[in-house]
């Protein structure tokens, strides 16, 4: 149980850390798009979390791809 909580916490921290990392050159309207899911009710929150998870995975994959390229 402790392990599960700890893993969840570490994932969440990583998640938020990634989420709050400033990245330039993106459309500032994207934030408003995301917010629409949050204010769209409980189902919207689910969409928001799902989107965040996908973004997280996307970022991880991109990072992994970059590392492989650097190694090569």
């Amino acid at each position: 149980m402790t392990l599960v909580v700890s893993t969840t916490f570490s994932k969440t921290s990583l998640f938020m850390n990634f989420y709050l990392t400033p990245i330039a050159y993106l459309d500032p309207g994207t934030g408003s798009m995301l917010l629409q899911a949050i204010v769209g009710g409980s189902a919207g929150l689910f969409v928001f979390v799902r989107h965040l998870w996908r973004s997280f995975r996307y970022a991880e994959q991109t990072k992994a791809g970059d590392t492989t390229q650097e190694t090569n």
Partner: protein, 445 residues
């Protein structure tokens, strides 16, 4: 009023124009009557024009930075109502700006029919941020902070950015409805921190649906409905009810104004546009409305104008448009090449102007030259009903009591000379106190 459509716009219009919400909106007058011109002369306007729509003409185009609080609120509620109806009918508003709404008298009308487009599954409401910037934050600013929103909308045609508005809020404000999500969180999310570029696609594939937009729209409606601005008093809000000259001269002035109004082939409504400058509670605007197609009731006191709008809106008055405006600080032409949002004088030409007991405020209160004010009035080429308030008047003395009297040009003799240079005096009448004179003026030439 004509609207040119490109090929994409025409395709959208052909789909949306058949929908029942649009038909109902046009029948009830909440959406401007629109027809496709059968054989249009396509204008050369720099893009491939596929069709031309014709709208019923709106008497005078007004801008949100000249509206009062409840005018902006009425426009916001109309926008949200139409969006919800559109969503139920499988369409959506692609933007949400108050420039899409105009007032026929005190009744808001949605004029940008091409803003309605067919709804695509998974689509996000692209106008949400615009709605917040142009409607929600200005209304919250007025309601929560008692700060006039007009200079903010005049200062930026895109409205108030979430980051800016969030910075204005104090701790207490964050407990108000909508502050956390629509302001604070919105501002936080504006800072570009997301690594995934195609947010719209990702949201769609994550299951974003129309139902969520409807929820958001209903939530926004509840917030806007809950916003009210009701200060007890302002500098001019009770002037008409309490000031001695108003009480004393009201009957004589009404008779004089009515005589001028009736002079033009009454009972036909032959005055096209009347400007009532310094309208206060709209006593003379209401009189003029009996004889005019449109009356612009303009006053710099926001609360007075707002109360007038609320009263007119309750009557569904379709003649008088109240506006917040200061002649000494008028809204200029704005936007691209200063042609997008043009100044009032470019949008409206009055044929009758009321300038009643205003001149001393302009000359002594705002430091304008008497000759210049009269020249400006003459430049309007309209019949003018003018009330001259002499130096001996109690109100003028009050204005002068706390400032150096550098207004030597403000006297009866100079006034006569300037008036005779620019106008023909048709009739004049002294009022009871002996310090005020009404003049019916026709411009020379």
């Amino acid at each position: 009023m004509f609207r040119a459509l490109g090929y994409g716009g025409l395709q959208d219009w052909e789909t949306v124009s058949k929908k029942s919400f649009l038909q109902t909106g046009m029948q009830t007058g909440f959406i401007v009557q629109t027809e496709t011109v059968a054989t249009p002369t396509l204008p050369n306007i720099g893009f491939d024009c596929a069709a031309v729509l014709q709208h019923t003409a709106i008497p005078i185009i007004t801008w949100p930075f000249d509206w009062s609080f409840n005018m902006l609120r009425a426009a916001a509620l109309l926008t949200l109502d139409l969006l919800e109806q559109a969503l139920e009918d499988n369409a959506i508003l692609k933007d949400a700006t108050p420039y899409n709404v105009q007032f026929v008298g005190s009744c808001p009308v949605f004029i940008d029919t091409s803003s309605f487009v067919p709804f695509q599954p998974g689509q996000i409401w692209a106008g949400y941020r615009q709605f917040c910037q142009m409607f929600l934050y200005p209304l919250m600013l007025q309601c929560w902070k008692n700060v006039d929103f007009q200079p903010w909308l005049r200062g930026s045609l895109e409205g108030i950015a979430p980051q800016d508005f969030s910075s204005l809020l104090g701790l207490r404000d964050f407990f108000r409805r909508g502050a956390f999500s629509h302001v604070w969180l919105h501002a936080r999310l504006q800072t570009p921190r997301m690594i995934q570029p195609k947010v719209a696609d990702s949201m769609k594939s994550s299951g974003f649906s129309r139902f969520m937009i409807v929820n958001n729209v209903r939530g926004l409606r509840r917030i806007v409905e809950g916003l009210s601005w009701k200060p007890r008093t302002s500098a001019w809000s009770d002037y008409d009810n309490t000031a001695e000259p108003v009480q004393r001269d009201a009957a004589a002035k009404e008779k004089f104004v009515e005589d001028v109004c009736q002079s033009k082939f009454w009972p036909l409504k032959t005055w096209k546009t009347v400007w009532d400058l310094g309208c206060n509670q709209g006593r003379y605007s209401r009189l003029a409305a009996k004889y005019a197609e449109t009356v612009l009731a303009i006053d710099s006191d926001h609360l007075t104008v707002d109360r007038l709008f609320v009263a007119l809106n309750a009557e569904r008055n379709r003649t008088i448009i109240p506006l917040v405006g200061n002649l000494a600080d008028p809204s200029p032409s704005l936007g691209w090449r200063l042609q997008e949002r043009r100044s009032l004088e470019h949008r409206s030409k009055p044929d009758l102007v009321f300038c009643l007991a205003l001149i001393h405020h302009l000359v002594i209160g705002c430091n304008l030259l008497l000759a210049d004010v009269i020249d400006w009035l003459a430049s309007l080429k309209a019949t003018v009903v003018f009330e001259y308030v002499d130096r001996a008047d109690v109100q003028v003395q009050q204005l002068l009591s706390n400032r150096e009297d550098v207004f030597s040009d403000y006297n009866g003799e100079a006034f006569r000379a300037h008036i005779n240079r620019a106008f023909v005096v048709v009739r004049e009448q002294s009022l009871l106190g002996g310090t005020r004179t009404l003049l019916w003026l026709q411009p020379k030439d």
